[in-house]
Each structure stands twice: as structure tokens, then as C-alpha cells.
Symmetry: C2
Subunit: 730 residues, 2 copies
Amino acid sequence: MANIILFAIAPVSAVIALAFAYGFYRKIMKLEEGTEKMVEIAQAVRQGARAYIKQQYKIVAIFFVFAAIFLAFLSFVLKVQSAWTPFAFLTGGFFSALAGFIGMTTATMASARTANQARDSLDKALKVAFRSGSVMGLVVVGLALLDVSLWFIVLHIWLKYSLGVTTVTMLSFGMGASLQALFARVGGGIYTKAADVGADLVGKVEAGIPEDDPRNPATIADNVGDNVGDVAGMGADLYESYAGSVLASAALGASAFLFNESFAFNAVILPMVIAGIGILASILGIFLVRTKEGATQKQLLSSLGFGINTSSVLIIIGSFVAVKLLLPGNIWLFGSIVIGLIAGLIVGKSVEYFTSESFKPTREIAEKAKTGEATVIIEGLSTGMISTAIPVIAIASGILGAFAFAGGFEPGKMIMGLYGVGIAAVGMLSTLGITLATDAYGPIADNAGGNAEMAGLPEEVRQRTDALDSLGNTTAATGKGFAIGSAALTALALLAAYIEEVKMGMKHIIEQGMQLPEFLQSFTSAELVDTLSIEKFMDIFQVHLMNPRVVIGIFIGSMMSFVFSGLTMKAVGRAASDMVDEVRRQFKEIPGILEGTAKPDYMACVEISIKGAQRKMILPSSLAIVIPIITGMLLGVAGVMGLLIGALGCGFILAIFMANAGGAWDNAKKYIEQGNLGGKGSPAHKAGVVGDTVGDPLKDTSGPSLNILIKLMTMISIVVAGLVVGFSIL
Amino acid sequence: MANIILFAIAPVSAVIALAFAYGFYRKIMKLEEGTEKMVEIAQAVRQGARAYIKQQYKIVAIFFVFAAIFLAFLSFVLKVQSAWTPFAFLTGGFFSALAGFIGMTTATMASARTANQARDSLDKALKVAFRSGSVMGLVVVGLALLDVSLWFIVLHIWLKYSLGVTTVTMLSFGMGASLQALFARVGGGIYTKAADVGADLVGKVEAGIPEDDPRNPATIADNVGDNVGDVAGMGADLYESYAGSVLASAALGASAFLFNESFAFNAVILPMVIAGIGILASILGIFLVRTKEGATQKQLLSSLGFGINTSSVLIIIGSFVAVKLLLPGNIWLFGSIVIGLIAGLIVGKSVEYFTSESFKPTREIAEKAKTGEATVIIEGLSTGMISTAIPVIAIASGILGAFAFAGGFEPGKMIMGLYGVGIAAVGMLSTLGITLATDAYGPIADNAGGNAEMAGLPEEVRQRTDALDSLGNTTAATGKGFAIGSAALTALALLAAYIEEVKMGMKHIIEQGMQLPEFLQSFTSAELVDTLSIEKFMDIFQVHLMNPRVVIGIFIGSMMSFVFSGLTMKAVGRAASDMVDEVRRQFKEIPGILEGTAKPDYMACVEISIKGAQRKMILPSSLAIVIPIITGMLLGVAGVMGLLIGALGCGFILAIFMANAGGAWDNAKKYIEQGNLGGKGSPAHKAGVVGDTVGDPLKDTSGPSLNILIKLMTMISIVVAGLVVGFSIL
């Protein structure tokens, strides 16, 4: 009974999060949007963002319909999946989309209001921007945890499905979230960078007008991009990460304590309880963030840091209590949580070191701008590559530590160790409510600056929004660290969940009286399958490094990260070219634009970004769906596991490389713009702009999509595991 | 007895290869070097190249001394290695260095002579260039096969060591070759690209003087670079690949037929026999290459193609006979050889498609030059990433096919399948004698062009050498395909050999009465270890994908490819900056350089490239040595195997990406220079030059070093396997 009360923390705190989000939203809406011009601009951005999201959700809906039909086929015809799978899948996609939509709507409502408050003071502006970021953070964690706990209540508590069936069915909810997140990241990423690159190339370089100038036809598209890419895309992304880590750990908890029903229940709810505690701690942390007028960047940062750190400490204490109450025999699991938090912190700090203009690496890139574009690019690429070392070592040590703390090195206890890895990911993401708030407020401040610029507000307003924006870059680096780090841990936990799903598939085949493949025919009963440890499983399925199926899988998985990144990057290049053509056309065909006497056709540019994004997101996203299925049918379980680990190993590192190279180029340019090495307009600045432009698709389109790609491929493999085990060729 | 005669093919054909190489060399030396100016320039290049090689070998020698002492420690103190190991290691390094040195000397002798012959006719010039390329090709295969067969004769036939001990000891010969190759590739690659980039940035861009202009102080360094990087570096690289594939297959042959002594002997000599047949076929092919004056590029290409194709057909026939005679019960092994050849061909063709200006991808990169540097870079990066798909699928299918043909899918026969993969690599590289000739003649033609330019020869001479050079680019693409493809297959075979070495280490520990780690203590006798199949081995050592040691190993291995590439790339950037400073200094301080009245200080620039290369090659190369040892000591056998497969999976793909992106940028620039999209001097051309410069370190320094890195790490792991199995922590 005590554990049911503890479990209640999850849905209750989720509802509280949503309530606070609504409260913040109401408060924001009460503020004035500012001058007529400001309202007009905000309206145009909102309209553009809505137009995009509408189109995007239409295409995504088509994919979801097909995927749901396929899942229904697995569930009702082949019967290798629970009947609830298609529905869980749909809710995952729906809530992820909803979280993105709410976050984006709030952001588009908040930008003019932030600019308007910035006319008064920095503190007021920070409050609005951070509050609307908090709406996003709380909506993401609230909806995710609500959905997770509702499904758990329905399937296990109400319908009395076993913990195994319940948690595995819930993983298809994660698949829905991942699929929708991939579209949001890829589509949003293409959209925003096409607009950004296109606007810069013609506006800044050719026409010589400043950023966010209302005479630039692509400027609204650019501002829309921040909302659909950096806000809605990021929201869906982190919704997926958050839900994924909880779901993966829950599934492993069910298996780790398979022969101990009551502890199994506790192990399954532990990640949800930790997430719930995290939500409460985040809300408290959010209220601690405040600052005074005239605060330095350092003070602003320490204000945010104070909020986040307090939340972290509360979570550490809270999860110690939770572990103690739920799994008193495994109190060391608590060490896994702490290790997860520390690893995330190290990754975040290293991202900051390699991408902030306060440190050597970025300054050296800026330095190279003196010898031209080529040397800037070479230095940025090499810095990005070298920068992968610390995060990889941190995450590797984190995995080892989390595994060891959970007791994974004891013979036959591997599954416990992997459960520990999953719990570490949950710990790492438990502060998401507040860290996401600090992440999401960056683009809001950015947009507020755009609004101020276009509306012709006084210089000091722009200075205030710039201060907020630049602060956002640093906090976003830490946030990225947690997102990347948790993705690696979650992916590993999901891989372990994949094994459970394969076993589930075997049991199902046995129960249906169907034929198992030859090498599995010694398994004549479901009970025998249950006794199969991970070690034994790996032996029987030959998931070892000399099996050519595994090796080929690893090759293809590694390749997938590269090909996927190449496709998304190319899409940005192509759409940006179209944008350049359109802006050039408007400058030529609409007289008076550059003089400010005629209004450019903003929506035409928005339309181009939309079309480019929609068309080009389909191929890479489809690959993510199709490749795991094909690999499974051709190479079996061993091939799939190779594929997933290859995609994880290579994709994880490629993602860090892209994020850091892109971030460093961006800030190297900013460093020059601050007046160093010749300042704005110098040849060094020109070279810096080239570096920044190259980095744009790397850091905002391809890089962040890779994390989702890795998890989506794993989720899909999990869902089709039954099919693969029964029907694969090799 | 019959098999001893067959074995004799190996040393005999090796000696024949060396004899032909000497004959070709003598013929080349009989030709005139041309005008006084031409002789002077050739002398300067020779002098620079010698100066570099001397310095490089000095540093490498220090590394070799330390490594040999370490190996002697393993052999004589810890006694976990055969007493011959340090000596085999040293000869591998020595012969690899010798092959590079001879190839380079020939090339520096041939360039002026090629230019001089080009004054008469294209055919004569082709003959000299191709002949000196052939010297390189034949010296590499001759020395490698001679060394391999001599060690085999000494250890097995003369000293009567068992096949297992013999082949494993010989692997340390491969380690020597790999270590020296890594230094040659990294050092040579940094040297050549620092000079190239530096010369271009100041000479072409700042001073506006053409390529290879004698007024540019860095021009001799640039020409020296072609010899030390593209000739000596490539020679050492392919020596290592060639020897590695033969040695890995031989080691697997010994294990695959462990319980059938006579077949084991045949299986061990089969790769050497195939290599011997390949040498004879290559010599024949070389004599078939000839062309007429006024030949089009197509005719030139078909002439080279005719030589290579004839060799390939002869090898296919010859190896069918060899398999039939040596392993009549495994005639399908022949299929593995053919599959290896086909996979190599597909990789080569795909490299050509993605990097030749005759095809769409490179033209689209050129097209993007119209919108500036950033879009060229984005398009090149994305094209390079997408281009990894075909090679990976080809090699993956090749592995699967070679494994299946050799019977690896039969239960308990995995080792046979891996032997088949090794044999496929041998088949792929068996034409190396002739393919390397077509590879190495490219830089010779390039240097001849430089000589002609600097010596002020008439325009038509330069046109002829350019025709040869551009042809070299296409054949080099195919050559690269074989090098990359064979590296992946060889690395996999070496990984299997690693297992054998671990078993050898276990036996040794048992025989010495020392303590095995706890999980291995059921192995109480050497005979028990011998019965350990690969499958069982992987189970006991838990080399499966859920073991965190394996996963962490994979992460670190993948990271290593990125960090190593980043370090080498950065080294090029730094050394290029120094070069820029020196050239600027000379222009300023030596009056009359630009007017052609004063001679620049060529050797000062050579010195800078030397220093940059020597200093910066140490860190990345040391990492390659240290990381496998540390990983082994910390994470044990499972961690090492993860490390190696991670490095292979990620490094293989990163290498293709770099090679193709760099090649495509290079040819996109050439396409523009041919007069397209505005031609030379247009803004598009400027953007194209930036792309080319960025691609330089990717395709000629970091990319080609990765193949060696992967194999060197494997070789080192093999050599320290005994240490790891006895003393690792986890």
C-alpha cells in the first residue's frame, strides 16, 4: 500500500506541473504585447509558426496512420504484440506533439511581451522569458509523466496485465514519442536553418542590411524558425528523451525482479517516482530564479544556477529516500543516480569549454579567421572532433559506475546493472523541468530581440534582450550535455529492453503453438524462456563481436548516422538555396522593399521553408523506420543489436562533434563581432560568418536529430522484435 | 612435398618482383634528366625529401627501440610472447621503411626524367612515370612477401615451431609494419598538406603567382611533400595492408585446421601462394600497359585498365588452382577470393562516382560555389557523408559472402568463415603490384609537371604531364577503394587472430604454472584451451553487446577515430600557419624574390614542414599505441575487442567520408578551373579553392591514416594479449 502512495507522486506531480504551467501562461498573457508594430510582428511570427506546424502535423499524421495500421497488424493478425500497442503508440505521438505545440504557442506569445518588458527593465524581461520557458519545461515533463503513469494505471492496476506485458506495451508509447520527435527535429531543423542561412546570405552579405531587418523578406521566416525548430523541435526531442528513459528503466525493472513480484512492482515505479520528485524539485527551483536590474551576466548565470542546483540537491535527497523505501535491498542504486547526474554535469561543462568564447578552443578558431575561411573550417572541424574525448570518457565512466553500483558485475546480475544504467539516465533527466526552462528561454529572448529590432525599439532594449540571449547560449550548452548524455544511457537501457521483448516474442510463439527457429527449439515452454539470463541470451543468439551479422549490423548502424546526417544537412543547403532565389526575386520584382516603402511578401518565404522542410524530412525519417526492420528480417536479432550499438557508438560521437563544432563556430563569430581580430566587417569577420553558416545545420539540424534517430531505431526494433525472432532469414 | 613446391611460389615471385623493380630502376636511370635547370630542381626536391626521411626515420627509430624493449620484456621477462617477437617486429618496420625509401628515391629520380620525356611525346612520358610507379609497386609487394616467407621458413620449416606459434610471432612483424606506416602516413601527410596549403594561401591567394612558380619559397617543399606523403607514405601504408592481410589469414589458417596438421600447413601457405601468384600476374599486367602519342584520356585509361584486368583474371584462375591443390575439401574458399575482388571493385567505382567531376555529386558541389564558401562546404560534407552508404554495403556484403563461402555458417565453423574473410582481403590486394603502380605514378606525373613549370618548359610539356596527372586521380580512386575495403576485411581477420593470441596467452600462463583469472580457472590444461571454439570463447569472455566493458570499448574506439583525425587535421592547420608566416617573411626580407632576381630560401620552408610534421605526429601515433594497452589493462579482453570493433566501424566510415569529401572538393575546383561556372578567378573559383583546401588534410592526412590506425591498434592488442589476459583489472 505504501508503494501505491509513493507511486501516486508521479501522476500527482505531473498534474501539478501542468497546473503551474497553466498559471504561468495566464500570467504571461496578462501582459501587454507593446506597440502596434510589435503586435503586428508577433502576429506574423505566430501565423507563420502555426502554418508550419499545421503542415507538419498533417504529414506526421499520415505516417502515424500507416504505422498504427502496421502495429495493428502485428497486434491483431500476427498477434506478436499486445492489443494496446497501437493505442499506446498513438498517445505517445499525440502528447509529444501537444507538448511541442503548447511550448511553441507560449513562446510566440511571449516574445513581444518580453521585448515590451525589456523596455522597462532587464529583470522584468528575464521574468517573462524564463516563465514562458518554464511553461515549456513543465508541460513537457507534466504531459510525459502523466501519460506514462496513466498507461501504467490502466494496463497494470486496472486491467491487471503482468508487469512485463505492461512495460513492454508502454515502450510503444515511447516509439510514438520518438517518431514524432524525429519529424519535429528534422523538419523544424531544416526549416529554421534554411531560413537562417538564406536570410543571412542575401540579406546580410548581398544587400548589406542587418540581422532581423524588416526589409528582409526572409526575416519573419527566420523568427518563425526559432520557434518551430528551437522550441517545438526541442520540446518534442526532450519529451522523447524523458519518457524514453523512464519507460526503458521501468521495462528493465520488471525483468530484473522477475521472480519477486512485489519488488518488481517497486522497481517499475521507481523511475516514475524519481521523475515525480524531479518535477516537484524543478518547480521549487523555478521560483528561486530572479534577478535585479543591471545584473551582470555572471549574476544572471548564478541566479539560474542557484535554481538548478537547489533542484538537483533536492532530487538527490528525494531519490535516496525513494530507493530506501522501494528497494531497500538495493540501496546502492542511489549511487547510479548520483553518477548519472555527475556524468551529465561533466558533459555539460566540457561542451561549455569547447564552445564558449571565454575559453581557448573557440578563441583559436576565431584566431584562424585571420588566415581565411579554409583555416577557420579546418580548425573548427578538428576542434569538434577532439572535443568528443571528454564526453565519451564521462559517459563511459558513468555507464561503468551506474552498472557497478547497481550490482551488475555480480554473476548473473547483468540485468540489474543495466537497470542501474537506465535509472542513471532518469536521474540525469529528472531536473528537466527547470533545465528545459533555461534552454527554451534562449530562443524566446532571441525572438524578443528580433521583435525589438523590427519594431524599431531603442538600442537599450536590444541590449537587454541580447544579454538574455547570450546567457541562453551558455545554459543551453549544459542542457545539451544532459540531452546527449542521457540519450547514450537510455539507448543502452533500451537495448536491454529489446532483449526482454525478444523473449516476450519467443514466449508468444511458443504459446501460439507456432514454430521457433531451429537454434531456439530447445525452448519448449514460456517458463524456460523466463529463466534465460542476458548472458545466456547473448550466447544463444550469438550477439558477440565475431558474428558477421553483428559486425555487419555495426557497420550499417555506424553508416546510418553518417548518411542520415548527410541527408539532413543537404536538405538545409537545398532549401537555403531556394530561399536565396526567392529573396533575390522579391528584391527585384517588388520595388521599394529596400527603401522601406513597400512591404516584402514574408509569407512567401515562410512557405518555402515549410515546403523544403516537409519534402526533405521524409527520406531520412523513413530510413530510420525501414532500416531496423530490413536489418532484422535479413540478419536477425544479432544483426539488429549490432545495428543499434553501431548507431549508438558512432551517432553519439558524431552528435557531440557536430554540436560542438557548430557551437564553437557560432561563438567564434560572436567573439569577432565583439570587436576582436578586426571586428565586424573585417575579413576575419567574413571568414567567421562562413564558419558559423557551415555550423548551423550541424548544430541545429543534423546533430540534435541523431539522438532521436538512435532511440527511434531502437524503439522500432523493440516493436518488431516478435516479427524478427519468428521470421528473419539469417 | 607438392605443397612445399607451391609454397616456393611466394619467395620466388617476391625475388622476381625485386629483380624486375631493379631492372626498371636501371632503365629509368639511363635516361637524361633534361636541362640544367631541370636537374637543379630535381636535386632540390631529392635533397628535401632525403632531409625529411632522415629526420622521420630518426624519430621512428626511437619509438622502435622503446617498443622493441617493451616486447623483449614481454618475451624474456614475462615470457608471454615468443622470443622471436621483438626481431620480427623490427624487420617489419625496417622493410616497410625500406620499401617507402626505395619508392620515394625512384620517384624523385623519375620526375625530371618524366618531364624531359614529355618534351618528346606522351607515350614516352607515360612509360617513365608508370615504370617508376611499378618500381614502387613491385618493391612493396616483393619486400613484404619476401619478409613473410623468410620468417615462415625460419620459424616453422627450420626451427620447427608449431604453426600456431609461428603465425602469431609473425603478426608482430605486421605490428612493426603498421607502426612505421602510421608514422609515414601521419608525418608525411602533415608535411605535404602543410606545404600545399601554406604555398597556396600566400602564393596563389596573396601574391597572385601560379602554382609551382619558382618564386614561391614553399614550392620545393610542396613538391617534396608529394614524394614523402603520397609516395613514401602510401608505400608504407600499402606494405602494411598487404603484409597484414597475408599474416592475419595465415594465423587464422593455423587455427581453423588446428586438428589437421597437413591441411593446417596448406591453409597457412595459401595466402602467401595467392600473393605470389598475384605478383607474377601483376608483372605480366605491367608489361601490357602502353599507349600511343595523342592518346585521349579514355585510351590512356583503357590501357591501364587492360593491364589491371588481365592481372585480375590471371589471379582468379591461379587462385582457383591453388585452392584446389591445397585445400581440395574447401574449394568454395575460391568464392571468397572472387567476392573480395568484386567488393573492392564496387567500392572503387563508388569512390569514382562520388569524386569525379564527370558525375553529378561533384558537379553539384561546384554548382554550390555560386552561392559562396559556406554552401560549398555544407554540400561537400553532406555528399561525403551520404557517399559512405555504397562502400559500407559492399564491404558488409563482401564479409557476409566471404564468410558464407568459406563455410562459416556451419555450426562450430566460425573460424573457417573468418579465415575466408581474411583470404578475401588477400584476394582484394593480390593485384597490388600493378594497382599500386597506377597509384604511385600520379604523384610522379604531378612532380614532373612541377618540374616543367619551374624549369620554364613549353606549354605542351605541362599539358602532357597534366593529362597523366588527371588520369592518376581516377586510377587512384580505384586504388583507394581496394585499400579501404581490404582494411576492413583485414581488421576483422586480425580480430579473430586476437582471439587465438589470447588463447595462446592462456596456455602460456597454464604452462608456466601461473594463476589464471577466476572466470578462466576451469581451464586446467593447454589442451582444454585448444578445444575452445570462437563461440565458446566469446561466451566465456562475455564479448557480447550487453557487457558494459564491450560497450565502453566501442565508445572509446569510435571516439579514437574522431580524436585521432582531429589531432592530425589540426596539425596540418598549425604547420600551414607557420608556413604562411615564413613565406610572408621571405617575401618581405629577401628583396627581388617576386621579380625573379633573387632566389628564395627553399630549404627554410622544407625545414618548417619537417619540424611541423615531426612534432605533431608524435601525439596521435602515441595514442594509437597507448589506448589499446590501457583499455586492455582496465577492461580486459572484452573491452579490447569492443575498442577494436568500435574503431573499425566508425573509423572505416569516417575514412570513406573524408576521402570522398576531400576528393570531391578537389575535383569540383578542377571542374571550375576547366572554365565552368565562371572559370578561374571567378568568385565561384575562390569558393572552390576554399573547399579544396579544407579537403586537403581530410583526404591526404587524416583519412588515409585511419586505416592504419585501426590495424595498428589491433596488432598492438594482439601483441599484449598475454599481458591483458593475465593481469587486467576488470
